[in-house]
Amino acid sequence: MLLEISDLEVEVEGKKILKGVNLQIEEGETHVLLGPNGAGKSTLFMTILGFPKYEVTNGKILYKGQDITELETHERIELGLGVTFQNPPAIRGVKLKDLLKIVDGKHDYKSEDDLDDEVIALGERLKLNEHFLERDVNLGFSGGEVKRSELLQLLAQQPDFIMFDEPDSGVDIENVELISNEIGTLLGQNAENTKKAGLLITHLGYILNFVNATHAHVLIDGKIVRTGEPKEIMDNVRTSGFGEI
């Protein structure tokens, strides 16, 4: 089991958001998380990452068999967790290149060294050239550029368990396919016996035409109320909305 969440209850600033979430994800699986706004999808992500504001009041999170519930965020990242944000903040003076240097394992953002050619080649593949990497991260990026920059950082980082927060929102049709392909690459979906796994939040579901999801869950009011085959659940949501689930 790569990730195992049991009875997870989480409060944010005194307000209970997650009310007993159970979730198991095996190597090679890609899970989709659906649910209305405010259901707690992003809170689940942030809690798995261990941000201080998200207080676990009950339950635990096991990753590769290790209890990570009390670990610091950077320790979890070192163990192989990764995330792409839906709306990452723009940070003035911090270049995309600097972030790539951190995640590229060098962990030294002050270093004068240039990026590995490999990372530059990854950027080219995502239509982000070397000049683009010199830009302040997310500052003035278009919607598509934000998503591709997020994926580029993860491609450089090579995590084992990846959370994608709406990787397809604000992206034009043409780029959804590109992004989906890279998500597939990240998750090793083209490789046999991949040891990687992913959890993906999506509203549109269009991306499921391109990404091979194995499981889907519906999260409503802090609880997973239904789990099943992604296409079936997605169709169900499309026709009846979340209210009928």
Binding site: P52, T73, H74, I77, I91, D98, L99, I102, Q153, Q157
Partner: protein, 405 residues
Amino acid sequence: MVSIKDRAEKALNKKAAIGEDIDLDEYETMDVDAYEHVDSLEDLDKSDKDTLTSVGMDTTEEERSASFLQMDQSELLAKVMYPGIEVMSTPQALEKYDWLSDYMWNAMAVDADKYTATTELDGKSGYFIRSLPGTKMELPIQACMYIGDDSVRQTAHNIIIAEENSEINIITGCSTANHVKHAAHIGVSEFYLKKGSKVTFTMVHNWDKEVDVRPRTAVIMDDDSTYISNYILTSPVQNIQAYPTAYANGDNTKVFFQSILAGKEDSQIDQGSRTILSGNNSQSEMITRAISDDESTIITRGDLLGKSQDVRGHLECMGLILSDDSKIYSVPELRGECTNMELSHEAAVGKIAEDEIQYLMARGLTEDEAASMIVRGFLDIDIKGLPDELAKETKKLMELSMEGM
């Protein structure tokens, strides 16, 4: 006619328009012959050399076109390695050039406040830098004001003249020796930029917790001239107040002021920049990045005055507050006095955004590393107008100053 000396004497107790009033009698003036001359910065003690290096001085002098060093009130070194520029002490220059007296207290009023007045009356100090017509010198001239003894009141009256179509880069570092805790520094700098000239002036301050600092700077600019000022203060200081002013009198002049201020411990920093745009088609850009930590207070001021046609000016101040006990006040002023001009300002003061910290933590940094990266990024302004090599060096200097932040 009232003499300069009389005017200075009358203003000896005149408080400055802004900033805390400093009792200058708390400090002692030093003799101009207190120290022996040196032939090279390499002749100084290791600890002095290290301090000089930290404020941008190249003690080997290999990458410099000229060097000047004033310790307390004594000139220790004035050396020129390349033709086309002149560097010497102001008293020496006054002996050499009769005409120089016309430049003394011309950009700056001697009776502006007690600090200018004291500088005149303490006398016999400061540097004179002049680039001859047409000189283009990429290698910077370095000038250092160094306080070597406790309780010293250091004054300096500097005159910088860039003759027609000349270009020079000046790096000036001001610091106290390691063992000096308590001192005062008053530096009056009058710049004269002739037609078509360009001066970049990069100043690094590295004082101590009990040092009072009152720089007084004015720049007079003729047609087609460019003045670029970079100011870096990242170490603790007791109290500093400065409001350098550029008089863009000529047509087509360009002014850039860029300041990086980091308030630490209980530093009181009041730093402004002002441009008076009087020449047609002139422009000014003034940018400040300030971070306050511990119990420090930073006031950043900016003042743009548009007095003639087709002038443009932009003022930007961004402040980041790192501790609850520190303060940042931003005071931008725009004054328009004619129709066809454009003045703007942008100011924001806040704390480090939590989502930015989390974003970097999600990439593997600890919370402290994330905050440090954000602060460095925040202070990392593009340095305009410097030759490539010097821009790189200035960037390194900024990074050096920011170490440990």
